[in-house]
Structure formats: C-alpha cells, structure tokens
Symmetry: none
Subunit: 221 residues, 2 copies
Amino acid sequence: MKILIVDDEEMIRAVLREYIEFEGGEADEASDGMEAVKLCRERDYDVILMDVMMPRLDGFSAVKEIRKFKQTPVIMLSARGEEYDKLFGFEIGSDDYVTKPFSPKEVMARIHAVMKRGKGAQTSQEVYEFEGLHIDMEGRTVTVDGEKAELTPKEYELLFYFVRHNGVALTRERLLNKVWGYDFYGDDRTVDTHVKMLRGNLKEYRKFIVTLRGLGYKFEA
Amino acid sequence: MKILIVDDEEMIRAVLREYIEFEGGEADEASDGMEAVKLCRERDYDVILMDVMMPRLDGFSAVKEIRKFKQTPVIMLSARGEEYDKLFGFEIGSDDYVTKPFSPKEVMARIHAVMKRGKGAQTSQEVYEFEGLHIDMEGRTVTVDGEKAELTPKEYELLFYFVRHNGVALTRERLLNKVWGYDFYGDDRTVDTHVKMLRGNLKEYRKFIVTLRGLGYKFEA
DNA sequence: TAATGTATGTCAAGCGGTTGTCAAAACGCA
DNA sequence: TGCGTTTTGACAACCGCTTGACATACATTA
C-alpha cells in the first residue's frame, strides 16, 4: 500500500502518514500540486490523497495533469463547501472526496474502499482522448476521428509509451530501451522509421508527436 | 444492469448516467414522476433511482404508483432532512435512500447492494447473444445460428474467458494463466491451437476472435 | 547569405519472426 | 484398454521490422 499525500499543511500530512504507516503502508509527501505531479511521474501509487487549496498548482489541476499519464485513484481533501460542484461531478476524475475537518479514520476507510474497488475492476482503465484521437490500451485500439487505425505491434507499443509519458522529452536511446527492450542492439534510426509510420497512421494527429532535434521525440497533447 | 434515473435536474441525471455506463450498465432517464411511471410500464429495470422533489408527480407518489404493478427496487434521492421520516421508515416501499448532496460513488455502491440483495431470488444468468452466436455459461451450451456447437472443455473455458473480457486485449500468457491455470508449464502456442479449434466451431462467428499480432487475441463483439 | 555538415524524413526490399494449420504423440478418464 | 481431448512439433504463409540509401530540413560557420 503506497500512498501519496498532497497537502500544504505539514501537520495534516504527518497525521495521515502516521495512520498509513500504522497500518503497514508506505507514504510519500508533496506540499503542492507541482511536486505531486513530479512524484507521480516517477513512482506508482495505489492511492493519492489530494488537497484542493494549495500554492503553485491546486489539487484539481494536479489531478487533471496526472490523469494525462496515470489513472491512479485519487481522494480529494477539501474544506467544506469549497468548490463543491466540482467535487460532486468528479469532473476532474477523482474517485472520492472527504471534507475537512475529517477524521483520519474516515480517510483510511475511504482508502480501503477505493483500493478494493480498483482490485475488483482489475483493469486500470487506460483510455485516453486527445481531441479526435482515442486510445484504448486495454482493448488495444486506436481510433482517429472515429475511424479505427490499424497499427502494428511496435506502433502500438511506441504510441502507448509516448502517451504514458505525455509531455516528456524522450531520447531515441530511451525509447529503444523501453519499447524495444534493453537487449536490442541496432541502429537508433529504427525509431525514426517507426515514428514515421505511426505519424502516418495518426493522420492529422501526427502533430502530437514532436521532433526534438538533436534529442529525440516528445508526445504532447 | 438497467437503471432508471428519475430526477428533474439534468446535471444529476447526466452524472449518474455517466457512472452507470462506465460500469457497463444501461440507463434511462425521466424528469418527473409521471414519466417514470410511464417508462416502468414499458420496460423492466433492475433498479430505479428516484428523486423526491419533482414537478407534476413527486417521488413518493410515483413509487406508490409503480408498486401497483411492479416490485422493482427503488433507491430514493432526497435533500437532507427532506421528509426524513418517510425515507427512514421506507413506508412507501423504497429499498434504500441517499441524501443529497451525495457522491455518485455512494449511489453506485447502493445500486450494487440492492441488486445483490435481489439476486438471491433470481440468479442473473450469464447468457450472451452476439448476433447468431448464443452462449449460456450456466447451461454450458453454445449455439451457432440455432445449431448447437459441440465444444471440448477447454474450448468452453477459453470462450467463456474471452466473452467475459469482451473487447480486452489478452496475451497468450494471460490466457494460459487464467484458463489453463498458473501451474501450466508448456508452450504458449497451445493457445493458438485451441483458438483454431474454437474458431472452427464458431463457424462464421470466428470473426469475433481477433488476432493481435505480437500480443495474443481479443474477443470483440 | 552561401556553403557545409549534421540530423531527420521518407521509402522499398529482404530477412526474420509470428501465426494458421494440421497431424501425430501424449495424456487422462472410464 | 480404448476413446476423446490436449499438447507438441513441423511446415507454410504471411506480415512487420530493420536496414541502407537518398532527399530534405536545420544549424553552424565563414
């Protein structure tokens, strides 16, 4: 049980951590949204506890950002009445919410509930939508403006890796290591060819794959 | 899972529908009691979500009316404190209630609870119909255009697993683990052979089993 | 601005891997 | 033992990956 606690109040983080560790869990802490996003890129969490009101990047925006590359369940922590509508609609993709002041026990209960749910569903619903580009990793389908795109295995893997690292600059070397595997010994221009094919299949959405001269590529949507 | 949502606020209906459909359910909507009664006469629902305060015919009266001809489980949605006593006593024949503002997650949990309760009476038989392909898991029968298909045990298990994961990309490894069991140590090409046999038995509906080159297979209907 | 070198885009062809298919062998149950 | 089922191995057909060559775009320097 790995939890990320995101709150600007150290006291709150400390209390939650206490409870999580008491139950044998592991907790990381972030004091604002930016930090949270960064940590999420680096590690996988079972649940994220996310405060709404924070400096730099607020909770809603942070979840939105994280959703671009991960589907980790999120429980929002908010002051009563604070942006209530958003919480209600879960427009930003959170899975539950708790209003402050909350009892740590309640939070723990929600954590367990969310984790249980996730296990039941089993599938971590990796579905992305960028304008008219629809990507379903579970079903291994990609549609461009509603029309199904027929990709080759490598193209799927490459695209999925791109999407999971949306906005991250990727060198050819890293792509070869991660998509082709560490045991691949070949020309790194191979990447270029596959990017070309992938771009062709993405039609107008080829624009999402940006060339970084002297470096590699980046998926940006 | 067929749900009828009755509420005069379109926003609330939309949110609930979203959640129901996300879980693979089907939802109809009514904006007042009269409409709800009308729809209930025409169709059978697994659960009805019924708001209390509505124009024309209120929730309590609507349930009373529906109870005259159907026993569909009802979950009442009401503002906190609103006619609390009635809700609490379930005098009007509702099976559960949720007070607004509620979290959609909570509502979903109640739906599951109510449906589970109801299941004791009538087992939700796992019967699937894809065009002319009829699959009855409980009866362990498969008919192709009305003609019974004779499958071997493994073929049944494989098909059932496929159907239960309709639209999901499945690797040979996963199929071996789930259908053959984790203790199977053999060639993963074994899957191919069984897929071949299964396809042969499904005749024209072999098309539902899609090959995902470099990965495995997917059932898609 | 022109010249030059480097990086990337693009394409086609051959090779190698993956899958469809079948038959024979191995297995398991009555 | 005998039968149906499962698994394995072999072969053919097919498809995708990789590579090398050339074209083009970009950056650097004079």
